[in-house]
Amino acid sequence: MSDRQQILDTVTAQIEPFNKKKVPVTAATTFQGGLEWDSLTVMDFVAAIEDEFDITITMNMQAEIETVGQLVDAVAKLQG
């Protein structure tokens, strides 16, 4: 299993408790449109991801991340 797949699996698992509408999650799912998260949910979720991977996702980066796949890429990059 590739690193990217591992990160995707972990991210998907982290999405689960916030995914109140049980939207099916793929790399193409968007946080705002697909998962229909408000800004407060996004903040809590980002904090969970940061804790899980021990990274900092700045608000500048968050502004560029729209899909689950983009988040996975960002995490992979931040983990270096």
Partner: protein, 420 residues
């Protein structure tokens, strides 16, 4: 006149056709619909209040009705102070109605310098810079202090002016959970140690009126080598021995690097400022775009500010009355069974938490019709999606006025089912 001619004339009066997908205004459709739905329900438009007369810091006429003001930030009641008004009138006579220029060029008059001198005295700092509004002070200071490759670390419940200061600048932005010392520590710990960092805090958070644990937060910021800015907009005049704010009250005067404040609350006029002891602080004047590329405050405004600030230094009786008023209102509303933003009267803001927008609007309207103005606040301005009626006290409210206010809340609260 031909058919064609008529058509052409008619067409020239019509707005040029814009393809719906290119109409920039379409993004507001949701907002327009939501607002229309609110107005269609028959309520008074909460965002179209006009003060037809203002009789004192606590009384105005709204829609022809005498109304008690409990939603201004006129904490110290300085707006009708005779000395303050006299200073403004004299400056109008001597210096005219406006400056027509930037602070940097032709827009610094005697009283801008005088207001900065008053601030240095009030805060006991070496430096003070006056901006045209409090919003611009945060916008300018934050965007100028933290540059590319550096970090701003801010509380999630920060005021819009702080968020906008971050957006205007080029620093990387990290936010932490509201008032969580642990989360601030964790986030600072994850950042690389080398780059410069600015931790931005507020003494009083204005939506719920809660106080920051500044002592612990500043200690954490210093541990990680960050500089600290505290916005004391909602505390000036009545926190700390000299009324400097929550940071003074918590004994942090030698720890906080920058304090941002405003003239539009306790000072009773308009304008913003930053004070600091940093030896290089003056350099901000030459680098800060929201300071440079805007007109300076009118002479009358800075003259009233300077006089008001000096009077606030010795305003012990007003300060005591303001705190007594906060205790009276907080106690009265708690006794009635309202859910409030803070357990104790921690600041001059008492926020009543309501169930939803419908209840908040109904209660706000009932209070207004009874002759009481409070501020309604809703997401996204409020934390955790709450609907609030925010009361802010003034040193000039009398105990009898507040008894009336509490009785109005009792009646309106029962009418909308917010209390039993």
């Amino acid at each position: 006149m031909t058919e064609t001619g008529l058509q052409s004339e008619a067409l020239s009066l019509d707005p040029p056709p814009v393809a719906p997908e290119r109409d920039l205004m379409n993004k507001f459709d949701g907002l327009i619909a939501e607002r229309q739905a609110l107005l269609d329900s028959g309520v008074i438009d909460p965002f179209a209040i006009v003060m037809e007369q203002v009789k004192s810091p606590t009384q105005a006429v709204i829609a022809g009705r005498d109304t008690i003001l409990l939603g201004t930030y006129n904490y110290m009641g300085m707006t009708f102070d005779p000395d303050v008004i006299a200073a403004g009138k004299a400056a109008l006579d001597q210096f005219g109605s406006g400056t027509n220029g930037s602070r940097m060029l032709n827009g610094t008059f005697r009283d801008h310098v005088e207001a900065e001198a008053a601030l240095r005295e009030f805060y006991g700092t070496r430096g003070a810079i006056v901006f045209s509004t409090g919003y611009q002070a945060n916008l300018g200071i934050i965007s100028t202090l933290a540059g590319k490759g550096e970090y701003v670390i801010l509380d999630a419940d920060s005021h819009a002016s702080i968020y906008d200061g971050c957006a205007l600048g080029n620093a990387d932005i990290v936010r932490f959970r509201h008032n969580s010392v642990e989360d601030l520590d964790k986030r600072l710990g994850r950042l690389p140690p080398e780059p410069g960092k600015l931790v931005v805090l507020e003494g009083v958070y204005s939506m719920l009126g809660d106080i920051a644990p500044l002592k612990e937060m500043v200690a954490v910021a210093k541990k990680h080598g960050a500089m600290v800015l505290v916005d004391e907009a909602h505390s000036m005049g009545f926190f700390g021995a000299n009324g400097r704010g929550v940071y003074e009250d918590q004994g942090l005067e030698d720890q906080v690097d920058f304090v941002v404040g405003t003239f539009s609350k306790s000072v009773g006029t308009v304008g913003g400022f930053c004070v600091s002891n940093h030896p290089k602080f003056e350099a901000v004047r030459f680098a800060c775009r929201p300071y440079i590329f805007t007109a300076s405050l009118p002479p009358s405004v800075v003259a009233t500010a300077a006089t008001s600030i000096r009077k606030l230094m010795g305003a012990t009786a007003k300060r005591e009355q303001l705190w007594a008023n906060a205790r009276q209102l907080h106690g009265g509303l708690t006794a009635l069974g309202f859910r409030l933003g803070t357990q104790t009267p921690d600041s001059a803001i008492v926020a009543v938490i309501l169930q939803d927008q419908e209840q908040a609007v109904a209660m706000w309207q009932a209070l207004l019709e009874a002759g009481l103005y409070v501020n309604m606040a809703r997401p996204p301005a409020t934390p955790a999606g709450t609907f609030l009626l925010r009361c802010s006290l003034c040193a000039e409210h009398t105990p009898a006025q507040l008894e009336t206010v509490i009785a109005m809340f009792a009646k309106a609260g029962r009418a909308v089912g917010a209390i039993d």
